[in-house]
């Protein structure tokens, strides 16, 4: 293998070996019946349980397939993130184009940003009830403020000459925003969105654990209620793998589609 090929493959090879070693040690602990494996059953145990139940989780009418849980959680995360992304861009535009809007919006932005998304759960349940809107709202609140503050920082980073050149070539203020500022900030805002995916992911899982009856977070709660450690471990594995895949996919989109930096 050439040096360049190895440099590319090394993180995956070494990372894969590292994970394999931990799983092997975990399985050995299971075979040796160490007490810790009662709480942390090894993959061979919890995967066997899920395969046996044909990837259907839960009891009776409240049971759902793994696919249904995944789509429910992802729908909430991406719904909330998309809304937060659009709202952050619109807020960024409004603030950067008008000082009056800045004065109106800024206090709310900086007052509400420090509130953890979980703190909104009781209010959201009262307002929206126990449904998807609650989860989407929690994700939105977890991402929107940080993304808006980040969007404003990205807007400030856009070289002033970009706007000057566009204005000199005949672009109005709105056209400058649409054709210059927007494309200039998109890669940075997308990176922020990716960074905030973890926050959104955690927010929706918490919402699913404390309120909603489906989704990946609900799997964990179901495991707790049934004293089923295999189910808890399986839920944690799916959450970890799903989060990893989405993060890598967002990184790929960022690198391939929104590749430029200003």
């Amino acid at each position: 293998m050439s040096t360049a090929a190895w440099d590319k493959a090394a993180p995956w090879v070494v990372g894969g070996i590292s994970v394999a070693c931990v799983i092997a040690a975990w399985e050995i602990a299971g075979v040796a019946e160490l007490p810790v494996t009662t709480v942390l059953p090894p993959p061979s145990q919890f995967m066997a349980m899920v395969i046996e139940s044909d990837f259907r989780i839960g009891l009776g009418s409240q049971s759902a397939t793994l696919w249904e849980s995944l789509t429910a959680t992802f729908g909430r995360v991406f719904g909330g993130m998309l809304l937060a992304f659009v709202a952050a861009i619109i807020t960024g535009a409004a603030i950067s184009l008008s000082r009056f809007t800045t004065w109106c919006i800024s206090p709310f932005l900086y007052l509400l940003a420090p509130i953890a998304p979980i703190a909104w759960i009781p209010t959201a349940i009262v307002v929206f009830g126990i449904n998807n809107a609650t989860a989407i709202f929690i994700v939105f609140m977890g991402v929107y403020f940080i993304l808006t503050i980040g969007t404003l920082a990205e807007i400030r980073r856009v070289p002033a000459e970009y706007g000057t050149v566009a204005g000199n070539l005949g672009a109005s203020r709105w056209q400058q925003w649409l054709f210059v500022v927007m494309p200039a900030i998109l890669p940075g805002v997308f990176t922020l969105l990716r960074t905030n995916f973890i926050a959104a992911w955690m927010a929706v899982l918490v919402a699913e654990m404390v309120g909603l009856r489906d989704g990946l977070g609900a799997i964990i709660m179901m495991g707790r209620n049934l004293f089923n450690n295999e189910l808890i471990m399986f839920g944690m594995l799916v959450i970890g793998v799903s989060g990893f895949i989405v993060d890598r996919s967002l990184a790929l989109i960022g690198n391939r589609v929104l590749w430029w930096r200003v």
Binding site: L169, G170, F179
Partner: protein, 256 residues
Amino acid sequence: MEVVSESHESVFRLDNLTVNFPGQSGPVPSPLQGLNLDIRANEITTILGASGCGKSTLLRTLGGFVLPEDTGGVLYKKQFLTGPTTDIVMIFQENNLYPWLTVKGNVGFGLRFRKNAPKDLNKSVADMLSNVGLADAARAYPHQLSGGMRQRTAIARALITRPQVLLLDEPFSALDISLKRRMHSLIHKLQDETDISMVMVTHDVEEAITVGDRVLVLGGNPAGVLVDADARGPEMRDRYSKEYLNLQKEIEEVIF
């Protein structure tokens, strides 16, 4: 050296031009205090001067990017400039191409805002690209271009909108000597073809003489025109001619 005194139509008339910058404890005066000057149309005027003499401020004022005190100003088409206009396009030292657009996208960028833009935008962009020798680089992105190619793209982006005046702020200062000379030839070619008025600020005496039809040297505080020389003709393009060397000596004696 012949001092220009013949009468030409002016593109800019500086009438008691005074520029002050805003400061924390009141306005900070620039070297431009009550400057009077005519800049003629359809020729290349190069402006030289020591650092801090006000030449870049002057250029930005001509572009309407810096507004002077209301005791005077810049007359363009017999009216005081009150801000940037699409008639006067400036090319900055940092060429500021948009990194997310290809060369073709950058060159055609300004056309989308023009009401009187040509119907076949693709053809206009293709013609302009071949005019500046970038036809083969149409699909390249700015980070894939050399310094000279980037500046040619910036020039093409400015010229395609057919401005009346092109302002150039030390546009070739980052280029090596051979590239610089190729860009000078391009500037002459484009000026011959379009008859556009150009004002270029530079700190390079050779560049000022070989590119300019008229060379102005700014200096003093408040700034005044120390040299106003005609640099037209093939002898001024020849770096070893007597005329070129005489003008170079005259300018260098004033500046250094």
